[in-house]
Symmetry: D2
Subunit: 274 residues, 4 copies
């Protein structure tokens, strides 16, 4: 019978998440001999190697942490950031809409702190490649570090360049812009994407969305979708189930479109709303 157990015991090189009872989170990669200085005492990496996932770990002062394998969600939320990062609620939907998957070639700009880059790199496998453009070198270096922490740096090529000069790549599967003025680069986007490839963008204001929509038809994009995704948390109490008092009301509008051949009857191809 086929063995289906996945790794039971932590080992050197694993990426781990430590969570304190007050929900302080630490993400680190296990290296024998190293140690973590927390506000609640010292944890030695050697304590964390060769134990079961889900174990409770004591610091030298007796405080405890739970040792977990971080989910992509954990990794995204703990991303070191110098810019606003995209939220998991948005990233999850972007992955599906852009059709991100194994072996794909995906272009993005800007790199930002690398949260979306991380998610893309996580899902394209070793046979795919992300090319990430940003004009800000400092920001991009942070993205690079965040990717390295996950061991995914080999899947990403960073380019410290202005996309106004165009993308080097052609015929890519998907292209995502997290820049304030995506409408200024639609010609470049069209040249980089394969026919009918997936374009996406995130924009905070309605004015920006209108400016982008206004240019889609000029540059032969169809199948346009504009949406926003809201996540509403509940207090997880069985006998008093209710939403939390406050929530994030807005991160950004998501816009998707696909380039179509100029010869096509473009205006006709519209995304139907489910």
């Amino acid at each position: 019978m086929q063995r289906l157990d996945s790794q039971l015991i932590t080992q050197e090189g694993d990426l781990v998440l430590l969570v304190s009872p007050t929900n302080k989170k630490i993400i680190t990669r296990l290296r024998s001999g190293e140690q973590i200085h927390t506000h609640r005492g010292v944890v030695y990496h050697d304590q964390l190697i060769g134990v079961s996932w889900g174990s409770e770990i004591a610091t030298h002062t007796g405080s405890t942490y739970i040792l977990l394998k971080p989910s992509l969600n954990d990794l995204l939320l703990e991303t070191r950031r110098s810019t606003q990062i995209m939220y998991p609620k948005d990233i999850g939907y972007v992955l599906l809409k852009l059709g991100i998957g194994e072996g794909q070639i995906v272009v993005e700009a800007g790199s930002g702190s690398g949260a979306l880059t991380m998610a893309f790199a996580w899902y394209i496998g070793d046979s795919g490649k992300i090319i990430s453009y940003d004009v800000n070198e400092n920001v991009q270096n942070l993205a690079r570090k965040n990717l390295s922490r996950l061991g995914l740096e080999d899947r990403v090529i960073f380019k410290n360049r202005d996309i106004a000069n165009g993308f080097d790549e052609t015929n890519v599967d998907a292209l995502f812009l997290d820049v304030p003025n995506p409408q200024d680069y639609l010609h470049q986007v069209h040249q980089a994407l394969k026919g009918g490839g997936n374009f996406g963008a995130i924009l905070p204001t309605t004015n920006q969305v209108s400016r982008l929509l206004n240019e889609f038809y000029r540059f032969h994009f169809g199948f346009v979708e504009v949406c926003e995704i809201l996540i509403r948390y509940y207090k997880p109490v069985a006998e008093r189930l209710r939403p939390t008092d406050r929530m994030v009301a807005h991160t950004g509008y998501l816009i998707f479109a696909r380039p179509i051949k100029p010869s096509s009857s473009i205006g006709q191809y519209k995304e139907s709303l489910p």
Copy 2:
């Protein structure tokens, strides 16, 4: 210089999406010699092989379709269904929260029409495995067909069994229940998941959520999160940007938790809400 172009021209065996100007969608796998009978005339597979993605294709009556590479979102929305399927807005978030990724062992029940199974299979790569339980053989056969259409059937093991008798697998990375009474299987879930592994469920009513929450503490689960995800579409018109008149108000509540060792100070480990 590294070549980054992805496949430019369609070829035999590709999964393709045809979209009509009225947004009728057809998904098929290209087989030389076959044909598609549409309401708008016949399309020959040989017309669709060896052409550029994004091309406009004419039927024998002169109607046109655009030829696209389907995104995962397209595939999910066009899934043949005998049961309510999960929506992309929910699936995207579930992927991130459960930490689905390459090489993982993931268990789910029930199989349903296979929409979530498809998304899981899409993202675990060839080195991962999905084990999908369902008591309803007919429903499961449909899920199997939907997986085959994507060529992902080798990544999934279907088991036509009642999970009340437990899961065969132990130490799995993630486990998702889309059944009406998940609280009845938490013992089985705990035995199947690795320590601190990721458990998720979707439930339509608040009463069901309360019943599940009520059992988490008894069966040593912590890091509980309850949320709902709303997607609001906008009419994509630059000069008259506004939400659509109506929207889907509810698909289900998403619940996530992680099994913790009975020895742990369980009550203390709570998910913090972002």
Copy 3:
């Protein structure tokens, strides 16, 4: 002891609501000798006079209706309309934000089908007055009929005029515009409203909201608030409590502001968001 009972028995002249078991609604004013021809048989007004509110009434074919005193909500939802009417969720909030109350002088344009007019007239009492402008005489005649049905026509003065020529009134308490281009009338609004009076508007698109906001500062309005109100219904089933599957996603954006003296340090006075 003070008698606090309100009218127990229906009487000639009362406005009544009949509701069938399939939720068909009929609103009428009781007139001895008249009759109502329903799809379920004839009901005689004399049957409806002198009975208890909440009684079950039989038609001549034996079908039943419940006899109720209509709430303002019932009256609004059953308004005969030739245009899109405002929804109770929006109207309720507008009443409070505009400070509508007894004895107030309120101006509105356009009259539309009179739904908002009805709500204003309902709440200003006999000592107040609504002045309702519309360029479309047919629409305004419908509004007049809707007001008459409620017996509130004496509280409203309809003016079949273009507000570009200004309002006759000055120093009014509140002014509401339900027109596509409110920004074109801010000078007129400022002249009609008392200092610091309450201005409101409803607009369907974000572009219109931006155009209005853009003019507020030029015409000395402060305390600007923009919001939208969403109502989400639940299936009222104790054991399976959940939101309805679909909901109204958008009716319009509500915008409120107050005119300030040109001498004021206008820019400083901003509405704080609760």
Copy 4:
């Protein structure tokens, strides 16, 4: 021609709202000779009497305030509170659903800080009456003070009593319960309301809503509606229109129903959802 101007100049006895440039709000009733000590200096009531609404007022230190006539919304938001008060978004809708209007007899429990009481009293006119029950005398005294500040205390009768013992009133038009266990009082509610009268309640948790729904049918209530109202604010900036970052996610679920004669075919009468 009929004079339609409302009061142009402030006078002794008026309720006024002062707003600072930093949006600090002060509500007071004008009394010649009195003064207001603000963090920004002293304002003399005599400065505020006989001036135009909307005037800018200087304190003795030269700081400025705008002098406004408070809307009901302003009054509600500035209510002194010892308990959670209901929000305008909810109150506005409750007014319409309960059909609150001139001359009505309305019962409520508990009084709480009196926010809802204020709104009811504002809209029933001199010919109506509110009877407000609360077991907590201190809370009720605060509600009384809040009513007095508005000069509406004559419209409200406070009763410091447990509603388990029933209401004194019968045949009232509307009855609202803001108590944790409304399902325990449905018999009393039925006896107090006129046939088909309007019952409303607000409850924070889904479990409470289920418990209330569960009892409606036993006590012959029909036309049940459950909903929640969400208000989403936008940053009022013309060129960068977007929702605020965060919002109130939950205040409470609103539940409405109407008592029906036991003889009626109760189960049949259901509220239709718009």
